[in-house]
Symmetry: C2
Subunit: 392 residues, 2 copies
Amino acid sequence: PEKSKSKVVQVASEAKKLGQDDPRRIIHSLKVGLAITLVSLFYSYDPLYQGFGVSAMWAVITVVVVFEFSVGATLGKGLNRGLATFSAGFLGVGAHRLASFSTERSEPILLGLSVFVLAAAVTFIRFFPRMKARYDYGLLIFILTFCLICVSGYRDDEVLDITHKRLSTVLIGGATTVIICIFICPVWAGHDLHNLVATNLEKLGSFLEGFGGEYFRKSGDSESKDNKSSLEGYKSVLNSKSTEESWVNFAKWEPRHGRFRYRHPWDQYLKIGTLTRQCAYRIEDLNNYLNSEIQAPLEIRVKIQELCTKMSSESSYALKELALAIREMIRPSTANAHIANSKVAAKNLKSLIKTGLWRDADLLEIIPTATVASILIDVVACTEKIAESVHE
Amino acid sequence: PEKSKSKVVQVASEAKKLGQDDPRRIIHSLKVGLAITLVSLFYSYDPLYQGFGVSAMWAVITVVVVFEFSVGATLGKGLNRGLATFSAGFLGVGAHRLASFSTERSEPILLGLSVFVLAAAVTFIRFFPRMKARYDYGLLIFILTFCLICVSGYRDDEVLDITHKRLSTVLIGGATTVIICIFICPVWAGHDLHNLVATNLEKLGSFLEGFGGEYFRKSGDSESKDNKSSLEGYKSVLNSKSTEESWVNFAKWEPRHGRFRYRHPWDQYLKIGTLTRQCAYRIEDLNNYLNSEIQAPLEIRVKIQELCTKMSSESSYALKELALAIREMIRPSTANAHIANSKVAAKNLKSLIKTGLWRDADLLEIIPTATVASILIDVVACTEKIAESVHE
């Protein structure tokens, strides 16, 4: 009992954390409960039940399956489901009509054959990458509806009636879901994507901000551990690709909201995301040098301290400025100046190295430091590219 | 018409390519068609229809929704669906019984309230990362079944009967799906994961194999472009994380198959995958130096050519050997020797640099080359870590 009690406490604290991290999760759960209860009331309400019969449960099913966290995902699924039900219903009724012209013996064979061919073909279509990204769910529902109509159609001749009922209940369920999803505390995928891209840039900026101080710290200093772990925020950027891609797909379904038009250039975010990741790979490298056990002696590092710190802090300002510009959707005003500053620092660093400031030092000890310098120069170049793409 | 014709041709060639890339896709489509047709026949067959009535369509729905590409995903969904239907049915019947003790007026209110509370709670549970990874679909079906039973239960008193029918049809559909999925040309997620991890290591190996030749090529040489693009195979490794994670989740559902036990150490693959990606970040770096416009003069590079080529080719042998060892599930025999060789080369390179072979050269021109050398040294270290983890 002691053990299960601690388990319960653990789960409860985890749940609390989930809710605190993003209170929209709690609201979402309540919204889902509300939508399902509303549709269930519809179903329990006598006149409607008489009208729709068993088909009315499709309204409940639609709500449960279609309601997703973000508006984009919900709309995408809802539209997919609606369109697929409509077109598959149409096709199913057609197939049923055609089959009814044949003899009674061949009818089930014909229907079975059409079910087989259609299911196999549509399943294959689901492998097309473009279809998978946006219409996967619709294709699934297409197979489902077609099969149900073909098979149940063989049973009774009210095919048209059933199809009509099913379509209208799906529409009722879908409409309830979409309305609740959009009008009660909506969660916009586009908005989240927008913030994610900006936050990722900020994370890189924070790393660069802290990097100079950390790298040129005298090794005896305390509180180094704490700082180091606070620099690791950028790690999540490395694997952000799949999240970004799915959110872009959701965002494309969303109507105009807030400061976003319907055809907001969402693909631009993917481009910025890719560049951000490329920059993050460099930073992963810098972080490795930071944590490497073999450090060049401080007197070597110190010679380039000023310029390197300048480069990294100016890049950091530029990245943060760009992140802010994305967030607020304004033109970045001073980012170019910061980039220019860091480029000047990079150039100075190059000529400083050329004048041979380490002439007498051990070449092997110089290399890590020199590498850090050259990665920083790369980071500056990356920052410039990101800035260009933000301007677009 | 001309335009639409070319569109059709384009889609057809794309479809052909999809089929050729992985013929299992075609087989999978046919399997889905077969399963659906079989279940439809069940449904059309009179005695059964009399027995199950409208509930029989749940068999078709189950097949369409549960049938996934790999055995693991199908089993996972099938078990989720079965268990969720069972437990939600149990709970739904219970809720319905409890509500029936109350007055007729309060009954729908009680049922509506329980639907709301349960839907909201379970929706929140879906946010737990661990639940999301393995039981997301089951939780969805749980809400669905509970709501349908609560709501339809209010209508007629045959709740138990309906629940029983629905559960048995879901079982029929699920069993058909699982049997066809496993016994006709099965696609094992574990097997695919196994190959993916090995292939990723091979891709890194191929890059390192070609790297030496490419980097120390005289700039005038032709056919450089071709080679460069053939080196880019490693790029897909950078973003392999989400694929690996979902396949591990699928693989955990799979029973013993081929050379894999039921409790195969799948998490180990994630570990190797993470190390592989870390190595890939380094290689992304190397590739940048390869494609960078500013190249150190050849006479500088040439001095470390022998050792660098040695390091990269020995690491490449080691990686390929490790990939083969994973693929064939044998102990890598010579990988350690290769790693030792590359470590010796790394050490020699270090002392070569220490003796000051570039004493008179321009320091700025040395840096890129030196960086390449130091990244290679890192790669050797990464390779060693991967080897350790493969041994486990």
